[in-house]
Symmetry: C2
């Protein structure tokens, strides 16, 4: 029994049939099922029958690719896509013993795990980090931005960033502010690990590569558009949000339709909204970040002492209620922070709609105290933006009210 | 010129025609337009023509009500609804000078301002607070719960709570935990003040009264279901969220359809999902709250020192990423808090979907540290619930994992 063989595996509770893939551990088998998904199966207690040997050439080319050379050979007719991994479910193999997910990835691994990527592009691969994305940090954003910069400078026609889904929206925002890019930078991930028949890793990776080849020069997030395996949505990195803990279509563009879609079957990438087109700007990297920025979500009953955590900080994002409010007892403390040099930006926990602090007394008091309005910038995006603006913008106040990377949307209706 | 006269008002920029209503200030006129909306107009610079005198009997009955007696007289055939105001836009009149909204309300005021309420019920009215809802506090929740309790005990067949929209979801949750109610307790408010032709105050108030008469024994939020004036949605108080800063249909039930609807034209109240029916439980008030509970939203780059604000607190709600994660560097501090007696509950900033800390290492470490899973309880609701549970539940850990007032939904799919 070798990788590349067609096998039938009888495990404790069911039977799988497919192609055996290389596994990173001795404890589990990874089998590519007919539908394209890879499933991890505990080797212990499984009975394995080899149905046919070597049906699949594991070094890259898929059986049936009509003798095409290994995909690691360069094809002049194909664009070059850089695959960059930061870890997370999509770049993971399964350790069935503990149920845990261990991250492990290089470009060749991806071609082995996702043979469907073959023939679509020449690939370059690199690992920037190997973390679950809840452990993402500003320094890794900087490493990631530098790696993406280098890949594009070296000729990549597009970049796919494999990333855990927990903090993908924050990292996508960070890159959107740190990089001016002439090519697509496409984040993708997986909500279900490869050990589950419902895994979304193959379709998301394939769709992300197609998006990375498209006529776009923005930071995008490419994830399932619905719970079925037909279409991925392309979200602007600064406007996307993980809105469900577990669904495959957890990611949504807030307050608008996604920029576009990738049809899985036809491979068509369609943009439905205005976006920056390929080569519209020159490549530029501005990686400096002020990391001393806090985010505070206001809720009723919050003690004004809570804001002491922001004392001496360079920046504070407040996630207020409604149009951008907090309890009026908090305003003197906010004013004090501002007088001491902290930049304070108001956003709304409503998520949709625009902050407007000119309607009610509370808002006007906040403006008088020196609070900046974040417009309709999402709170998390506002935090990343402020970290960036404090190091890179000559006029931070103006920058926070200006759309730098699509994070502020045009008013759709006059009263917004 | 007297309240009740039909007038035409030429103000600086436009002309209004309607019935003059009483105004709380000398500076502005309040005119009820044909469509039912009340508009506030700056008296200064306005030219007023009286078109007809006394077309409207201001003491309650609307002109055309066929000689019906004043609505303040008791009608045996109608249910009794208590209107309780806490302030906010719905209970406000307009001060055009500053653009500010000043709250002012008693039951008779409401009948004057919203004549459409006449004939639907006998009304009792009381003011519990007169605040913009961002200033709502746990002590006012206790006053409000006591007032509602007294009203129901005195025979009210339903209660309507007029409330600012900013923190309505938190107050509705608070009452849902503090009160067992045999009748509907319906929160309503207004996203647009009465000075705007697009105000939603009349339709929301009327629909809330209809909902308060319905066959339900839960705490509901009644607000516009769409941007048109056809239907109000009835949301379960513990599952509702203000999801837009300014739209009239800002309120949404998270992760499910609303419980029901009120059709504005037909006045039909329709429940589409299972709910507790009228008189299913006896009236009971449990108003004690532990106010020393904090909520922290985790974002990348958060300093572990941030959690020091929860030191010595009775409770802490963490709004984590994805299935319920934070940076692993924060876990030792969380463990320390728990060892020192703080109850820590994990929720998700995704808002939709369920927390599950058994899938990934980070989650398992959090569970081992003693963190409780908030299931799919919304973070704001979880904060209110923990404040209540710490004072009223014998087993707080068990209470946080059990649906006490519909705040935890049944799993819709096995993997949720």
């Amino acid at each position: 029994m070798n990788p590349g063989d067609r096998v039938r595996v009888d495990s404790d509770d069911r039977t799988y049939e497919g192609v055996l893939l290389p596994s990173s551990t001795d404890d589990d088998l990874v089998v590519k099922l007919e539908g394209g998904y890879n499933v991890g199966i505990d080797r212990e207690g499984s009975e394995i029958d080899v149905l046919a040997e070597d049906v699949y050439e594991i070094d890259g080319a898929q059986d049936g690719d009509e003798g095409e050379a290994s995909t690691v050979e360069f094809d002049d007719d194909l664009p070059t896509i850089s695959l960059i991994s930061t870890g997370g479910t999509i770049a993971s193999t399964v350790d069935y013993r503990t149920g845990a997910v261990t991250a492990q990835f290089d470009a060749e691994d991806v071609l082995r795990a996702v043979p469907d990527l073959a023939g679509r592009a020449n690939y370059r691969g690199r690992v920037v980090a190997n973390i679950l994305s809840e452990n993402m940090e500003p320094t890794i954003w900087q490493d990631l931005a530098s790696a993406v910069y280098e890949e594009i400078e070296a000729g990549a026609d597009g970049v796919v960033v494999m990333h855990g889904t927990d903090t993908m929206q924050y990292s996508a925002s960070a890159l959107a502010f740190m990089l001016e890019t002439p090519v697509p930078i496409v984040f993708t991930g997986s909500q279900r690990s490869a050990d589950r028949p419902s895994s979304d890793n193959v379709m998301n990776a394939v769709s992300a590569v197609e998006a990375a080849k498209s006529d776009c020069a923005e930071v995008l997030v490419c994830m399932h558009a619905s719970d079925s395996d037909t279409t991925c949505a392309l979200h602007r990195g600064t406007r996307v949000r993980k809105n469900h803990t577990s669904r495959r279509d957890a990611f949504e563009t807030v307050g608008a339709e996604p920029l576009g879609t990738v049809d899985y079957e036809s491979e068509d990438v369609t943009f439905r909204r205005a976006h920056r087109e390929r080569d519209a700007v020159d490549l530029e990297l501005s990686p400096d970040l002020e990391t001393d920025v806090e985010l505070v979500k206001f809720t009723p009953g919050m003690d004004p002492a809570f804001l002491e955590i922001a004392e001496g900080s360079a920046g504070l994002i407040v996630e207020g209620t409604g149009l951008g409010h907090v309890h009026t007892d908090l305003i003197p403390k906010i004013e004090e922070l501002i007088e001491d040099g902290t930049t304070v930006v108001m956003t709304s926990q409503c998520l949709e709609g625009r902050v407007c602090d000119r309607v009610y007394d509370t808002g006007r008091d906040l403006l008088e105290a020196g609070v900046l309005e974040g417009e309709d910038t999402l709170p998390g995006t506002a935090k990343v933006k402020l970290m960036w603006a404090l190091e890179n913008s000559e006029d931070v106040d103006e920058a926070m009210g200006t759309s730098l990377a699509g994070e502020i949307q045009e008013r759709s209706v006059p009263w917004e």
